[in-house]
Symmetry: C2
DNA sequence: CACGTAATTGTTAGCGCTCACAAGATGCCT
DNA sequence: AGGCATCTTGTGAGCGCTAACAATTACGTG
């Protein structure tokens, strides 16, 4: 008798001793139920052709032993880990956090676990690294919360290796993607302002390099041009309230500014603050529109008119796409676009007579 | 020759055919490097006693084949998945999201993956379910972002099975925990207001059932009592700006209110809004202090004086604790408390002369 | 230069599960 | 009653890796 063997026997044999708290395995269940391990496996996996009373006996044994299948063993043989990866930029922000939330929920109900990786920057290398790391863990697919252009192309470059879906924004023909229709949201916001009699609309854009920034700016510009309104120079920030405040200070100095479309709500908050400090009333002197509709937007001073995007829906849809791809839908090069929706509140008014 | 065997041989043999894109395994690396698979394993795991040139040869083979160790196989034999679980309440909120972020970062640098589970409610059953699910996946430990009292006790009840650390708040002697010192934060805020000459301080508390609500309320009350100030009835909300707004409407009607300590910043935002609508100026008529110091707090109207808690630090510390426990630190029934810090801005002023 | 010691590499046996196949049991039809 | 299809259960192998042990080689030292 070899040592290994005997060790094993000993442990199995010493069950009654009690000190050896070995987790029960399938064989234990099988023995207790008086069937083969394969039958236990069948019950566990819902295979057909198991006699009802046999199934019952097995289930009882499972309950009695509090048996839990070993997922590593299963993953080893099936080559499926039931785990998906999410790489995200700054999941501290409301948008990414909500998307992650939506993704996780959808994943869970589809029977998957989700493993996360947060990035500080979305450059090609970081994304690559994160995805590699996740792959090493054996995840089956990845959703990248990738609002930055660079990230999207980084994703496109490695997309061959493993199923990937991007969410947030961007236009990369090679990667399935779900995003809000930023352009149409921006257009709606701008048109709304124009309709109220504003001669033109200023824009506080997001940082360069972000697809969202670009799409929203493009939408804004398109409406202005279509309406024959002058296109003022673009201010831009980094999404933070702070940057919105700074831009606001600059905008407040320009007497001709009567309407501003901000690329997100946080910047709009900062802008509101700056305008207030500069003694410019909103919406009396200047109208402001945001983007996102964060839960607090209705409690700004004044309550913010904004463009709502449904982040969790975004996450959910992205996950659906990924699951479909995993199930064999041969690379659906889809680009799902979700329409945003304007939420009217009190930060917008008719143009001041001048 | 048995069928299984021959299938395998066939696949290995047909490498050159190219259609069979089998992932390289350790044996392939071994063959290419001219060593045994065990030596490859040694190189991979940094075992001593491998001759430098052998190591080099192995590494070269790994690179050439783009070999990636199979984590399931490794987990099966080592019984370690290198994965930790995080169960969180509403990771859409700034606090939980930041903690998750901190946890993930710390976990990564400690060589762990993190698998998340978001809950809609923190009742005992949900927590139990989430932890069980995570366990089935084979995670080695769990950190529960558990601000609710009920969750904490739920955690305590199941803590025997698997290493668990709680983060957020609560006092459960049986579970290691890291939290901000809510009471001392609340005390500082209240004292600050009193020192400015306010006769007393009103309190807008968080929802019942949350440890944080309770601790902050207790801290507030203690200072009031110590100072001999009257203890006004407590308003409470559900952390949202909306609930803060509603409470604010009620508070605005009471002429004697000159100072309010809010249990979080979002409610303070709503309160500010309500006060503004009611024509009560802040800080002229009423001073307001929040709790959290969310990134936007400095851009409220007016900028909010608040108590800052370092969420990512919280997450980081929780993870440290968990890792220590995994490493064998025999159940450190620690309760790490992190001191919060007051951030002075413009929502607070001296008591109005009346 | 024989010999003990340490360094280096290889061999074997599983980890706990599912898959492919085989075999026995059962039922139904002619 | 025989034969065939179907249901039900069992057997054996192997997923890719690490741990334990064995074997070989290299290196000083008396």
């Amino acid at each position: 008798m070899r040592v290994h063997q005997s060790t094993r026997e000993l442990r199995v044999g010493s069950e009654a001793v009690g000190t050896e708290q070995r987790q029960p395995v399938m064989a234990d269940v099988a023995k207790l139920a008086g069937v083969s391990h394969q039958t236990v496996s069948r019950v566990l996996n819902g295979a057909p052709h198991v006699r009802p009373d046999t199934r019952e006996r097995v289930l009882a044994a499972i309950r009695e032993l509090d048996y839990r299948p070993n997922s590593a063993a299963r993953a080893l043989v099936t080559r499926r880990s039931q785990t998906l990866g999410v790489v995200s930029f700054d999941s501290t922000l409301y948008g990414p956090a909500s998307m992650l939330d939506g993704i996780e929920r959808a994943a869970r109900s589809a029977g998957y676990f989700v493993s996360v990786a947060n990035l500080r920057s979305l450059d090609s290398r970081s994304v690559q690294e994160a995805v590699d790391r996740l792959r090493d863990q054996g995840i089956e697919g990845v959703v990248v919360i990738a609002p930055q252009t660079s990230a999207v192309s980084a994703v496109a470059r490695l997309s061959s290796a493993i199923p990937i879906v991007a969410v947030g924004s961007g236009t990369q023909p090679r990667v399935p993607m779900v995003s809000v229709d930023n352009s149409s949201g921006a257009q709606a916001a701008t048109r709304h302002l124009l309709d109220l009699g504003h001669r033109t609309v200023h824009h506080l854009a997001g940082p360069p390099g972000w697809q969202e920034s670009q799409d929203r700016r493009d939408g804004w510009r398109r409406v202005l041009e279509a309406a024959g309104a002058p296109v003022p120079p673009v201010e831009s920030g980094d999404w933070s309230a702070r940057s919105g405040y700074e831009a606001g200070l600059r905008l407040a100095e320009q007497a001709e500014v009567t309407a501003v479309f901000c690329a997100n709500d946080h910047m709009a908050l900062g802008l509101l603050r700056a305008l207030h400090e500069a003694g410019r009333s909103v919406p009396g002197d200047i109208s402001v529109v945001g983007f996102d509709d964060i839960p607090e937007a209705g409690y700004f001073t004044p309550p913010l008119t904004t463009v709502r995007q449904d982040f969790s829906e975004l996450g959910r849809r992205a996950l659906e796409l990924l699951v479909a791809e995993l199930a064999g839908a041969t690379h659906p090069r889809t680009h799902v676009q979700i329409p945003p929706e304007m939420v009217l509140r009190r930060s917008v008014g008719p143009a001041a007579r001048r």
